[in-house]
């Protein structure tokens, strides 16, 4: 039995239309509600607060640059997914203070994953300390069971901080929502980026800023490597226009690359989405559209292959980095089709969003904040 009881797309969202559709979901037996909204949804913060605070169901979700519904990539509208299972939701503030004791925060909010093998995480993608929270979250997952975490960063493509997470208290910012689901999930994670230069030793880094590589200013090293390998010139183009094609990759013992997207500069420091630890070895990565599309399809295959054979239609959530859409441009529908092509059940429900950072338990354990990646979770 699918965990989603019914999904409705609200094309012209308003408090009234949302209420009408919500009533329909409740009538269908929904126990909880997932809301994925496009950044361009037509509702004000006050509208959202009015609607959310009146909800009688547990709610989670977020605002994303675009949302995915089946084979459609939508730039407007709101997707309401009624779940047939009750969920437990914890909301944790993500203050900039790095000294926050996240273990204590989790303990204080009563987080306990013992009976819930899946934790869906939605964070304000522009918040600080996301990885510190994920680290604490991993420590608090029930070690005896095969608990997995999956999720995404919500927010605006403008990269300005706006309220972007849906909670019973209203639409909020600088926070994380943890949804405990009493259902086993199957994960697929992939990116398709490949090494083209490096390695470089991260000789100075602080949080998400890489200050020096090989004991030289990071931007100089990065610029030299990129310009040596392609025709792009940083003198002629904005940094992000070039850097979106050349992320950094940190390699692990299995040869897997954790992608870090340098989105801007702070002096000579590369500012990435996610932390780059000092003393790590990083590579410069590049991608080919067909590789990225193939990787997304592989992620779907991985998740589906782990799922036990059943007649039940799968419910799949796809969190794909917004930068992949920017990179693939008009080839993006091909990626979506490639993902959908892996599902042979005619009643498959695929919903998702283009995100600001993806979150997933890696194959072997820890929960990572990913960049430029595709995360597919299947129930």
């Amino acid at each position: 039995m699918s965990i989603a009881i019914k999904t409705l797309l609200c094309v012209e969202p308003s408090v009234t239309t949302l209420q009408t559709q919500l009533a329909e979901l409740i009538a269908a037996g929904a126990q909880s509600l997932m809301v994925l909204a496009c950044e361009d949804n037509g509702l004000t913060t006050a509208d959202w607060n009015l609607w959310l605070r009146a909800l009688e169901l547990p709610v989670f979700g977020g605002v994303f640059p675009q949302i995915i519904y089946g084979d459609q990539l939508l730039s407007t509208g709101v997707l309401l997914v009624g779940l047939r299972i009750p969920i437990e939701i914890h909301c944790i503030a993500l203050p900039a203070n790095p000294k926050t004791d996240w273990h204590q925060q989790l303990h204080d909010c009563g987080f306990d994953s013992t009976q819930n093998p899946t934790v869906m995480v939605m964070v304000d993608g522009l918040s600080s300390n996301i990885e510190n929270l994920l680290e604490a979250l991993y420590s608090n997952l029930d070690s005896g069971s095969d608990s997995r975490a999956v999720g995404a960063g919500a927010g605006s493509l403008s990269f300005t901080s706006t309220p972007c997470l849906f909670s019973a208290a209203g639409i909020i910012t600088d926070s994380a929502m943890l949804m405990l689901l009493p259902a086993v999930c199957y994960l697929g994670v992939a990116h398709g980026w490949e090494i083209f230069a490096g390695p470089f030793l991260v000789t100075q880094a602080q949080g998400n800023q890489v200050q020096s590589l090989n004991y030289k200013p990071a931007f100089g090293v990065y610029r030299e490597a990129v310009e040596h390998n392609c025709d792009a010139r940083f003198d002629n183009q904005a940094f992000s226009e070039i850097s979106q094609n050349y992320p950094l990759g940190i390699i692990n013992a299995d040869g897997d690359l954790l992608v870090r997207d340098p989105i801007t500069l702070d002096g000579n420091a590369l500012v990435c989405v996610g932390e780059v630890p000092p003393n790590a070895m990083v590579y410069l990565l590049s991608g080919e559209p067909e590789n990225l599309i193939a990787a997304s399809a592989k992620a779907a295959r991985t998740a589906l292959s782990a799922r036990p054979v059943t007649d039940n239609a799968p419910t799949a959530f796809l969190f794909d980095c917004i930068s992949r859409r920017t990179f693939l441009k008009d080839q993006y529908p091909q990626q979506l089709a490639a993902v959908l092509g892996q599902f042979d059940h005619p009643d498959t429900l695929l919903v998702g969003a283009l995100s600001l950072g993806e979150i997933a338990s890696t194959g072997c354990g820890p929960i990572e904040l990913l960049n430029k990646s595709t995360v597919i979770v299947v129930f």
């Binding site: 692990n252 040869g255 072997c364 354990g365 820890p366």
Partner: protein, 648 residues
């Protein structure tokens, strides 16, 4: 496939992640997170011994079980125990601590243990790698789905050697911190103890004097005033003596707590020692009315405390305070002086009767000086005992037959003025002079008994009773000393009786019982004096071989009119009857009291109605008269007239 550079990179990153914090857990956490991410581990646990493994020849012994565990993610205790058990089994000689213990590629010679590891991996659906951390513990790496490449197993050996060194440094650092904290705590404790009373945790005399002087100085410079209340608990000694020190201590704690609850935030309660407390009321604005109001308010609250019984352990005790109040700056601007003045006022309060508060007046110091003078003169008088003499108050039965006499001491000071025993006996007891004085009393009384023995005594006359203080009776070798005096005086022991107060009985129960038994064996009877005024009046009676109860005059007084007193007397008589004890009523002053006692079946009496205390020569004369007139029984009223009763 991972290249050599990647291997070096990971090794470098892991190595650099060691020792990022001197504190053990943050250091391990930082390292563990890098390990998890780079090695793709499901979990890491670090197991440390509190004490190092001891090396004993070829074998290794753990001085203590593994008890410090750090893990990411948090692991169930049972899973951690599984790993520890496994490691303990693996850690059998011969052991090469330089190599990891891991399931896929056993580098160890313990092949027979391989099934154990495989069983663990099967059961937990994960791969497990165990590395020793030198001799301080081990680290366990857990990985799901696929094993670590063998090349990493080698790569990690030097990493964990470094980690062990870092752990050791962190442990030593933490031990140092613990030691420093312990030193600080000990220092704080010493400073606290220096300024506080151990029992009540109130400020002690030292702290009080420091704070008081500060308050006095501040008060003087800022035009503020205050008061010092010197509080002494009435009859506390009796509680301590009769119920024991533990109960006494509980009472002091309860009183301390109650006093603290009565004061204002800026006030102080201190304990000077024993049952003496001090309350300092300070920072009161100038103006007599305000000071009087605050003092009166606090005194009222203190009275309220003592208006009800106070819980002391399992006991509910009724105690009262005597309070001396000195105001400042009026009665002193020096802490010592102010305290002394309040103490003086407290003595006056005690003398005025219990449960009173007295404000200090300058003349009181003169009164205290007199008391000190008494003490001084007493010390001198005891050297020769020339100014002391013994008088004897006869005891009679209801038929007017003389039964015996109680020996009483009298003292004329150097001015020839009679000093009441009520004044000098407490001074003698407090100053320790009572021992010496008690010896003199006993020697003198025995000498008089020797004289009496030579006279033709009335057949009804049995003995002379001597009061013995608790201090004296509880002296080691008291019985032997007494017997020496008896022998020296050459008297019949049966002619001597001992009167003890209840507190003397309870001070040291075993010794007291033995002493009384020893005296009894010599024919010396023991009476309980002032019966009914102590604390455990009833509980100890059957524990001592005593002969007689002397009902305190407080209960005899007006027994004919006061139903309460009569009931008490009746109860004591009934109790004595049931225990087979004689009863003597003390302080019988009127016919009505005598008649009442007679009707209550009390047949032995002492008091002014029968006779005032007599000089020894008068007693001898009385003996001679009675001896000749034994058949003519003497009526109490006629006796009364005969011996100059001032009431008649």
């Amino acid at each position: 496939m991972v290249g050599t550079l990647a291997l070096i990179a990971i090794q470098h990153e892991l190595g650099m992640a060691i020792g990022l914090d001197i504190r053990l857990k943050p250091m391990l956490r930082a390292f563990a997170m890098v390990c998890l991410n780079r090695l793709g581990l499901a979990g890491i646990s670090v197991h440390l011994y509190r004490e190092q493994v001891l090396e004993d020849g070829d074998s290794m012994q753990h001085s203590r079980p593994l008890d410090d565990v750090f893990s990411i993610p948090d692991m169930r205790a049972s899973d951690l125990e599984d790993i520890q058990r496994l490691y303990t089994l693996l850690l059998q000689p011969p052991l090469d601590l330089q190599q990891p213990l891991q399931p896929q590629h056993p580098l160890q010679p313990q092949h027979q243990l391989q099934p154990l590891i495989e069983h663990y991996c099967e059961q937990h659906k994960e791969y497990l790698y165990l590395y020793p951390l030198d001799t301080i513990g081990f680290i366990a790496l857990r990985r799901k789905y696929r094993p670590l490449l063998p090349v990493y197993l080698e790569l990690l050996v030097p990493i964990f050697k470094r980690l062990a060194i870092s752990c050791q440094a962190s442990l030593e650092h933490e031990q140092l911190l613990i030691t420093i904290e312990a030193c600080k705590a000990a220092e704080s404790r010493i400073v606290f103890q220096l300024h506080h009373d151990d029992l009540t945790l109130l400020p002690n005399r030292r702290a009080l004097m420091e704070v008081l002087q500060r308050e006095l100085d501040d008060g003087e410079s800022q035009g503020l005033q205050g008061a010092l209340l010197f509080i002494d608990l009435d009859r506390f000694k009796a509680i301590n003596d009769t119920l024991g020190h533990l109960v006494g201590d509980e009472l002091l704690k309860a009183v301390a707590q109650a006093l603290q609850n009565t004061i204002r935030r800026e006030d102080i309660v201190a304990r000077l020692g024993g049952d003496e407390f001090v309350v300092v009321l300070s920072k009161i604005k100038a103006g007599e009315d305000e000071l009087q109001r605050v003092v009166a308010n606090v005194l009222e609250k203190i009275r309220d405390i003592f208006a009800h019984s106070i819980h002391a352990g399992e006991h509910l005790l009724q105690v009262s305070p005597s309070i001396g109040v000195a105001l400042f700056p009026e009665h002193g601007t020096n802490a010592e002086r102010l305290l002394r003045n309040a103490d003086t006022a407290m003595y006056i309060a005690k003398a005025q009767g219990q449960n009173t508060a007295v404000f200090y007046e300058d003349r009181m110091s003169a009164d205290l000086d007199i008391r000190l003078q008494v003490e001084k003169e007493l010390q001198m008088a005891i050297k020769t005992c020339a100014d002391f003499r013994m008088v004897y108050q006869p005891q009679y039965d209801h038929n007017g037959q003389i039964l015996g006499a109680e020996a009483l001491i009298r003292w004329k000071d150097r001015n020839g003025k009679e000093v009441s025993p009520a004044h000098f006996i407490p001074v003698a007891e407090e100053t320790g002079l009572m021992i010496e004085l008690g010896h003199w009393i006993m020697r003198e009384a025995c000498a008089h008994i020797h004289t009496l023995q030579k006279l033709p005594l009335p057949p009804s006359f049995k003995k002379v009773s001597v009061n013995v203080s608790a201090i004296q009776f509880n002296q080691p070798n008291y019985v032997q000393e007494l017997l020496k005096i008896i022998t020296h005086a050459a008297i019949t022991p049966q002619m001597l009786g001992i009167e003890l107060t209840e507190s003397a009985l309870i001070t040291n129960i075993n010794t007291t019982r033995d002493n009384i038994s020893a005296l009894q064996a010599q024919g010396i009877d023991v009476s309980i004096d002032d019966f009914g005024t102590g604390y455990s009046s009833l509980s100890y009676l059957n524990r001592f071989p005593i002969k007689t109860l002397k009902i305190d005059q407080a209960f005899v007084r007006n027994a004919n009119r006061d139903a309460g007193n009569r009931a008490i007397v009746e109860t004591i008589i009934a109790l004595a009857n049931s225990l087979g004890l004689n009863v003597v009523a003390e302080g019988v002053e009127t016919f009505e009291e005598f008649d009442c006692l007679n009707k209550l079946n009390c047949y032995q009496y002492q008091g002014y109605y029968f006779s005032r205390p007599l000089e020894f020569t008068a007693l001898c004369a009385l003996m001679l008269n009675n001896a000749h007139d034994q058949s003519d029984k003497i009526k109490p009223a006629s006796l009364n007239r005969r011996h100059n009763d001032p009431h008649h």
